[in-house]
Symmetry: C2
Subunit: 437 residues, 2 copies
């Protein structure tokens, strides 16, 4: 890429695609624009927009799934509450890596955490008519906001950037004290900012959940990927920090997509605290003849949504969970590659005048992982993304993830070969020239 | 089983399980009651309640799925619109066995037809605010009514028993003329009655869909299983009859669960007519920035619900669809076993004084297939099911499927060994004695 693509070319493509403001484009639109720019310019782009795993999964899962298929599970409806082996393996895994006690009966496999979260939103809305709302601690995963919208779940959110540490409690209280919020959702580590809420901050969230009788929905899509401490040893501290230490009002979501690079088979786990699983809601009893949250999650919501999830893939995930617990599969080491790529490319960005936007977890510099965020000298989201596109770099802007900051999210998952680092370096040099014109 | 179980024992179990009226029990409650009765009495039951496939699937699907796993598809997110091979195979399959033209782009794999139908209901409700309702041609699959309830989709229904042939049109018109119905849903062959709507009746439905701008949702869970004519030859008449011959306002659902005995992997296909796939709805554009029904089905509804369905299982179903089209897999012959079991056990029921409730498709006696319905000399649903349970036979009552008739649904899928026919004979003899006391 010797020359930036002209502004006219970019504007022309955006206009043809009916995109009025490129900084508001969805990931999908972004991919379409990038494909078209690659075609028109004849230049390959550096793709930082897509969050797909991109590593090869352990053969342990694949071999277990093939064995299950040979064992005729494809013929037989899966138990909607989940097959025994995956429920038991997940219970051990949660003890080994989060140090929380969640019995097998409270763990339900779903068609990815997407299905898990979707049906939690719907149930929370229906079970508690006075408190149907969800509070998003932003920035966050845009797909979860789409879910709330499709389901008509009222939602509110705030950007955690200005509300870390001792400022978090009062900010949460501002929303929860209104009494119409049934759940708080956040991911840890966070997509898109890779912010990791600290143990102290999780205590604050737990205390607020207790005080206002609200459920913490803890999305562990990137479980144990805060590589600043070694979370890879089963049954040994340090553990993945979790709100489950501070409240019984929690539900965790654990997906196989990123931690085991098993996104294709759509497998996630919804892990209810025993209190939440067994808690009785009169409104659910009125509607469906059963009162307990867990029973309704399985027999009302998941039954209607898909009647269970791939029978054979449950055996794949069960095998990987057990292998991790038995120290035969170092899933944390397997994904450390993402941290390596982040360290290299952050340095490239910084060398060309960019800064990390979400740069600290209170006193600690942020970890290197699947995502990070960068901005450039006060450039607006729109100018930043337009200039990056002109220089062959694609990404999504932070405002699409509910952030108030200017910047982009960079995902390192597609940076699978070293030549892409050189390409990024070259393209950002071009960007710097363009920005200083 | 020498003696019926006492009425007190049955009543005691029902009361412990909080079931006030056994004739209103769900399948799941029914299974629980039966398990408890088996435990208490020490007698094995004849299970006619459960509709699970129970045949061994073709190795073509299993081998294709294993090959896909070896090819690393587990690592890669599936295309939410479906992987190319299954979309193309399904398009060929629909031409070969239904003689309808549905392009690959209009065919979307889902997590079983359950997910397919659920998201159709939700989209139909949202896209057409004046016509959010669904009309069920009953008797029907109770799970689809649960879906409407969970989603808050208004629904109406009528029992087709009294409205076959020339009576069907006026009955449909009675509902559709009110203007608040967006879709009609029915299965063909029908669960639970095995009624097969005739080509003439489907023409009537098609004409009504055209007249009132309503969508026909055609559930082909039991595609080509009307064994009265040979529907097994690809690209040769007779074909599976379908409303697609008479209207462009159709969406078909084809599930791998029963036709390929592949229920475990949760794979179905939603097949839009080209007209419906591309049709623009202003309300969808307002809500989601895209107007077309098909685009929203994929990018709004399925994206939120689960972001696609098992990547490897799509290759299994693709292989079976292609093998069927290429005359290398006779899926119709594979499931004829159900017809054989139905013929044998219907004779046993009739010999003990039972009658087939839904006994004719107009002039033709009903086909032998996966389900049939039986009643006994005017006995009410409650007395019938109570006495059958006392004599070691479990089933669900017709009223739970929206039928106005007294009787039970018998499913032959669990009758996998000849000794079960003898057991049924013995237990129904006991029933006859009990009924004539």
């Amino acid at each position: 890429m010797k020359q930036p693509i002209s502004k006219e070319t970019v504007d022309d493509i955006l206009s043809r695609m009916d995109i009025a403001d490129v900084s508001l484009a969805t990931i999908r639109q972004n991919v379409a624009v990038t494909n078209e720019l690659e075609r028109v310019s004849g230049e390959k782009f550096v793709h930082l927009e897509i969050g797909v795993p991109g590593l090869r999964p352990s053969s342990i899962g694949i071999e277990a799934q093939k064995a299950a298929l040979d064992n005729n599970v494809a013929a037989i409806y899966p138990n909607i509450a989940g097959e025994r082996p995956i429920k038991e393996a997940a219970s051990r895994f949660i003890k080994a890596f989060i140090d929380a006690d969640v019995p097998a009966e409270c763990i339900i496999p779903t068609v990815g955490s997407m299905q898990g979260c979707y049906n939690l939103f719907l149930e929370i809305k229906q079970m508690n008519p006075d408190k149907p709302g969800v509070l998003f601690i932003d920035p966050g995963f845009p797909a979860q906001k789409s879910q709330a919208k499709v389901l008509g779940v009222p939602s509110v959110s705030f950007d955690v950037y200005h509300y870390r540490a001792e400022k978090l409690g009062p900010k949460l209280e501002e929303y929860l004290s209104k009494g119409n919020i049934g759940a708080i959702i956040y991911s840890n580590p966070n997509n898109p900012s890779w912010v990791c809420l600290t143990d102290d901050e999780l205590r604050t969230i737990g205390e607020m959940c207790n005080k206002y009788d609200v459920i913490a929905l803890e999305d562990f899509a990137y479980l144990c990927m805060d590589f600043r401490s070694d979370l890879s040893k089963p049954f040994q501290p340090p553990y993945q920090v979790s709100v489950s230490r501070y409240t019984d009002n929690y539900i965790m979501m654990i997906s196989a997509s990123k931690i085991f690079s098993y996104a294709g088979e759509r497998l996630g786990l919804v892990c209810f605290s025993p209190k939440m699983y067994h808690r009785d809601y009169p409104r659910l009893r009125e509607l469906y003849g059963m009162g307990r949250m867990g029973d309704n999650y399985v027999l009302t919501y998941l039954y209607a949504a898909s009647s269970g999830t791939s029978h054979s893939a449950q055996y794949a995930m069960a095998a990987m969970l057990n292998a991790a617990v038995d120290d035969k599969l170092d899933f944390v080491d397997d994904v450390k590659e993402y941290g390596r790529r982040a360290a290299i490319t952050k340095e490239i960005f910084e060398r060309h005048g960019f800064n990390i936007v979400y740069d600290r977890d209170n006193e600690m510099p942020i970890a290197d992982g699947f995502y990070y965020t960068v901005g450039y000298k006060g450039l607006s989201n729109k100018d930043l993304i337009t200039n990056l596109l002109r220089c062959g770099v694609s990404a999504i802007t932070l405002n699409t993830a509910g952030s108030d900051q200017s910047g982009i999210r960079a995902c390192v998952s597609a940076l699978s070969t070293p030549d892409l680092f050189d390409m990024l370096d070259e393209n950002l040099a071009l960007f710097e020239t363009l920005a200083n014109e």
